[in-house]
Symmetry: C2
Subunit: 255 residues, 2 copies
């Protein structure tokens, strides 16, 4: 079983060398640009889950990449002037600042469509279905965010962040052919991961959960989510050391 | 076998009553708005092809709707100020003019993701795969258009319009479970349909093929495409009267 660092390198290389649809023509440049950098957390979770569930990590690479592409799609569109108006992303010009708004809109669209192409490279539709569902949740969350209309903070985060984290586990289960009736404990683990990631994100940025619960309160919520994630892993009938490392890494990360 | 008008009513009702993912929350309003109106040409072609190939038209409705949603997605994003800057669409305010740019970007995204959800409601991945491929072609075509970098007009139209018309036939073949080795003649028909639609569109708008070939030249090209489409139908081992009506309708339409 490989370490999260080794899995991250796998995802990074795969995404970097991804063969894009030739019909994209010059649009491909902005798609590649938007795929550079990032922690690949979602892809790594997918590979680690697939390995723990008995599949080859390599077999899960298209699924892992599809999650990274959906994540990149959401960043490219969220950064647009009409939404978050972020001219910088990962220490470089954001896609629209680099290529203009029109090409950035299309780059996000292309990332989303390529993500489905990848998730549908398996001989079954379930990975693609789960990706569609997670994407729709993210879009709903972004809508609640920009219109300031979320019923409560937890709903917002569950949609904006949690859906794609949960799908990172879910896609791996389909790839590893875990029967649906045995997926419950794994999915309970995936639900905690997204929450953990979000709370730690807010602690690092000093917003969200820190504003509503104070820094100590947020830290306590993060520790509780990490504990629940580890507990859920205990219910999973498999070797989960890489996933435990991922939980530790998410709980203690400094960036 | 039902007439194109009956099939159009089927598509229209299905799209109008479509159950959207609840997680979209308030975003659903703009998605519904963008789905009102339109000729439903792609959906009708899909249903007629499925019927000709031996499936129930009703069974092809999710596939037909997925094509209409991808079409609507492309219109919503193409209308944005940064792209074509169209404030009007189908006689009403375009999505961004009605809901603002931010919500319109998300509406397009949601239409695309919902389209995949529909195409993946079948127990096989091929319909979704073909939809992804067609979408990527459309995006590549739109890129060539806005950057004015198409190698030639026919490449541009093949991507911008042809891909989704071809997929309208292609998705129906998967839904009707036509074996891949028997799909060739059907697909040759689908390729002609997109070209026919585009040339007639240009004749009605007085641009594109009319500019490059004159009005008479464009009319001749349209008639040739219609003839080839009818010929291709002759190679198809099925009753194709509804599809012949569609070719006639596309060739002679006045709007």
């Amino acid at each position: 079983m490989r370490s999260p660092e080794e899995l991250r390198a796998l995802v990074d290389d795969y995404v970097g060398d991804l063969a894009l649809t030739p019909e994209l023509h010059g649009q491909a440049e902005s798609v590649r640009y938007a795929l550079v950098g990032g922690k690949r957390v979602r892809g790594v979770i997918c590979l680690a889950t697939a390995e723990a569930a008995g599949a080859e990590a390599e077999h899960a690479l298209p699924a892992a990449a599809s999650l990274e592409l959906v994540h990149a799609f959401s960043l490219v569109h969220d950064d647009l002037p009409a939404l978050d108006n972020d001219a910088e992303r990962r220490g470089r010009a954001s896609a629209w600042a680099q290529f203009g708004e029109a090409v950035a809109v299309l780059a996000g669209d292309a990332l989303l469509a390529e993500a489905f192409r990848l998730a549908l490279s398996y001989p079954f539709p379930q990975a693609g279905r789960e990706l569609a569902q997670a994407t729709l949740g993210m879009i709903g969350g972004q809508y609640l965010d920009i219109t300031n209309s979320a019923p409560e903070e937890s709903t917002l985060h569950k949609l904006k962040t949690g859906c794609l984290f949960a799908a990172s586990v879910g896609l791996a289960l389909w790839v590893a052919e875990v029967p649906e009736r045995e997926q419950g404990p794994w999915r309970a683990f995936g639900d905690e991961l997204g929450l953990l990631f979000q709370i730690v994100d807010d602690i690092l940025d000093g917003d969200g959960y820190v504003v509503t619960h104070g820094e100590e309160g947020a830290r306590r919520l993060a520790d509780e989510a990490a504990s629940r994630a580890r507990e859920r892993l205990g219910d999973v009938p498999a070797g989960t050391s890489a996933l435990e490392h991922i939980v530790d890494g998410l709980a203690t990360r400094k960036s």
